[in-house]
């Protein structure tokens, strides 16, 4: 299979269309299994009681918020380097989903903070840097809409997202670098997991589900963007329309 072929939006469009149902179905299935594990199999936390169950949405949302930002920045970088239209479109398609997960990470974090810390919000390094990430997503999207020329909009928002990627390691390591009220990592590459196996399984299932969901909605959004910007793919999907036009011409 020649992958470079799919760098053309009109070739990528049908491929994305074929992939979306698979990602969607598996995402829904894994959300079902993850929620079941999270609510019925995972035990009560001895310190945090039932409130800890918020982590089954909080941690996946927070991980996706950072991961999607990096992926967006990579597509933006590829777009700048190769001047590839599809790369810019991918970056454009990722931003709203990333912003949504950042918002959800902050909201579910507040829902966790109130009963366990006694405060919805504190100006802690982890929380503050995550809030900045939300502003970065907003900045990328607003910058795009504020520039009429598409190519300039692509390039400006790409530079903006590349510069902002520096915040992602700051968020990730904030709990080590500073004294934060936010707890340290419960799952780490070096020390493994400090959680019960069923809790960890539920959390990883939800993370995988959110990842698959993100792929599905981002592919679906990039298809919308291709139709909006390129005016090509409907030819393929609407033979009757093409036929009508052909008849008249």
């Amino acid at each position: 299979m020649i992958w470079s072929k799919y760098s053309a939006p009109q070739a990528f469009y049908p491929l994305a269309g074929r992939l979306i149902p698979w990602f969607s179905v598996v995402a829904v299935a894994l959300i079902g299994v993850g929620l079941y594990m999270g609510f019925f199999v995972a035990p009560t936390d001895f310190q945090q009681g039932e409130a800890y169950r918020i982590i089954f949405v909080h941690v996946p949302a927070a991980w996706m918020s950072m991961f999607l930002y990096v992926v967006m920045a990579v597509w933006a970088g590829v777009g700048l380097g190769l001047n590839a239209r599809l790369s810019f479109m991918m970056a454009q398609a990722i931003a709203p989903t990333g912003a949504m997960f950042t918002f959800l990470a902050l909201l579910t974090g507040a829902m966790w903070g109130k009963p366990t810390w006694g405060a919805w919000w504190v100006w802690d390094a982890r929380l503050t840097s995550e809030l900045i990430l939300l502003f970065q997503y907003a900045g990328v999207m607003l910058l795009r809409t504020s520039i009429d020329d598409l190519r300039r909009a692509d390039r400006s928002s790409a530079v903006f997202s590349l510069v902002g990627v520096v915040n992602v390691p700051i968020i990730y390591f904030s709990v080590q670098w500073w004294n934060t009220l936010h707890q340290g990592a419960s799952v780490s590459m070096s020390t493994g997991s400090k959680m019960a196996a069923t809790m960890l399984t539920a959390m990883l299932l939800m993370t995988l589900a959110f990842w698959l969901y993100s792929v599905a909605v981002i592919l679906s959004r990039v298809r919308c963007i291709i139709v909006e910007r390129e005016s090509l793919p409907v030819w393929e999907e609407q033979p009757t329309v093409v036929q009508k036009v052909a008849e008249v011409r």
Binding site: F39, F40, V41, P43, T44, G49, E50, A51, R53, I54, V57, H58, A61, P96, T97, M100, F103, L104, L107, T108, M111, W112, K114, P115, Y213, V217, S220, R221, R223, C224, V227, E228, S231, V234, Q238, V241, V242, K244, V245, V248, R249
Partner: protein, 61 residues
């Protein structure tokens, strides 16, 4: 399983408000995103179709 009854499950050990707000808002956001994308797709295709067929109206007239 640690739930004796449905009400115990919904109470979430007294943290029900926080737990259910988190899960419900997350679910609403994700469903809303999917619906918004369907609408966007329909709008983009309708506009594109109108553009394609718009030319035929002019030539017909």
């Amino acid at each position: 399983m640690q739930w004796g009854s449905a009400s115990e499950f919904f109470a979430m050990g007294g943290y029900g408000l926080y737990v259910w707000t988190s899960f419900v808002v997350t679910a609403l956001c994700m469903v809303w995103e999917v619906l918004a994308l369907w609408r966007r797709r329909a709008a983009a295709r309708a506009e594109h179709r109108a553009m394609l067929l718009g030319g035929t109206d002019e030539t017909a007239a």
